[in-house]
């Protein structure tokens, strides 16, 4: 069993990033909480998982991604509707004081929800975790070119979707 202080430290250092990533993948707050808890239960019962890991954040993001993918596969009915489900309005970004900014964030949330989960994961890790394509490829266990092309396709879709609004409010 993990020492309580280790578990708390892991939570304090990484839970925010894991939460944002899981929320963007699942588009559901309850699922996000369940997966985050499942991840920390795993860490509590198998603390040796992080023994030989140099990049804790990357390893935990990989665990989170695997849990999210498992969730999608487990829930067959939901998996079939997952793309539609992902487009549901869930607040992925912090609320903004400015009305235009708030609208932009809402549209961005919707546009992200329209991306396939694989593209959304790469876009999230590149834009909001600041990972390189090499790191993303390793984390998601895909070839480097696949990671790069998923990002390019995803960003193109976001650009297309957000272009009118972006031009309007810039």
């Amino acid at each position: 069993m993990a020492a309580p202080r280790d578990l708390a430290r892991w939570y304090d250092e990484h839970a925010q990033a894991l939460f944002a990533f899981l929320l963007n993948l699942t588009r559901n707050e309850a699922d996000t909480r369940d997966l985050l808890q499942a991840l920390f239960v795993k860490l509590a019962t198998r603390p040796d998982l992080l023994d030989a890991v140099r990049d804790e954040r990357g390893f935990l993001l990989r665990m989170a991604h695997n849990l999210a993918v498992d969730l999608v596969r487990r829930r067959d009915t939901r998996a079939r509707n997952y793309e539609a489900f992902a487009a549901e309005a869930v607040a992925v970004f912090a609320p903004a004081a400015d009305a235009d900014e708030q609208v932009f964030r809402a549209r961005l949330t919707e546009a992200l929800g329209e991306l396939p989960v694989e593209q959304r994961a790469v876009v999230h890790l590149k834009l909001w975790e600041g990972l390189t394509f090499e790191a993303i490829a390793e984390l998601l266990d895909v070839p480097l070119n696949t990671a790069a092309s998923r990002y390019r396709y995803g960003l193109d879709k976001l650009r297309e979707r957000l272009r009118p609004l972006y031009e309007e409010i810039r």
């Binding site: 909480r33 920390f40 509590a44 912090a94 834009l127 976001l158 972006y166 031009e167 810039r170």
Partner: protein, 145 residues
């Protein structure tokens, strides 16, 4: 259209600058508590594998074991009650109550006192049974007093 000035790099930078939603602070204690609790039952489960010996013996059906115990208690009670039976039968009297047996013993003690028989001989000793003659009819009772 107003898309001529659209710069992809600007959009990327703008997207990067969007602050992500904050993790609900109340989740911290809930998740950490749940994680620690989930790790604990494994120890409890190991302890449960070694129950006390009496639970191992009696657990499969405690009601049946209670029934067996009650039956033994009943047998012991009946056995105690039946202790008077040999005394009365040796005296040639059929007695169905313990009070009568006590009265008989007292009576015998007084009789012994009157006849000045030593205490050691006060207990009735059955006379040695003489073998019946071979030709004697089997329906004649042997009366031993």
């Amino acid at each position: 259209m107003r898309t001529t000035n659209f710069n992809p790099d600007d959009l990327e930078r703008r997207l990067e600058g969007q602050p992500l939603r904050q993790l609900p602070p109340e989740w911290r204690d809930e998740i950490l508590t749940a994680a620690r609790a989930a790790a604990r039952p494994r120890v409890a489960a190991l302890e449960f594998r070694a129950p006390p010996w009496w639970r191992t013996v009696f657990w499969p059906n405690p009601v049946a074991w209670a029934g067996v115990a009650a039956a033994w208690v009943a047998i012991l009670i009946l056995n105690q009650a039946g202790r008077w039976e040999p005394l009365t039968s040796s005296a040639g009297v059929r007695s169905s109550s313990p009070g009568l047996g006590v009265a008989l013993i007292e009576h015998r003690r007084q009789l012994n006192e009157l006849l000045e028989v030593p205490a050691a001989e006060s207990a009735p000793t059955p006379a040695p049974a003489s073998p019946a003659p071979r030709g004697a009819p089997p329906d004649q009772p042997h009366c031993v007093i």
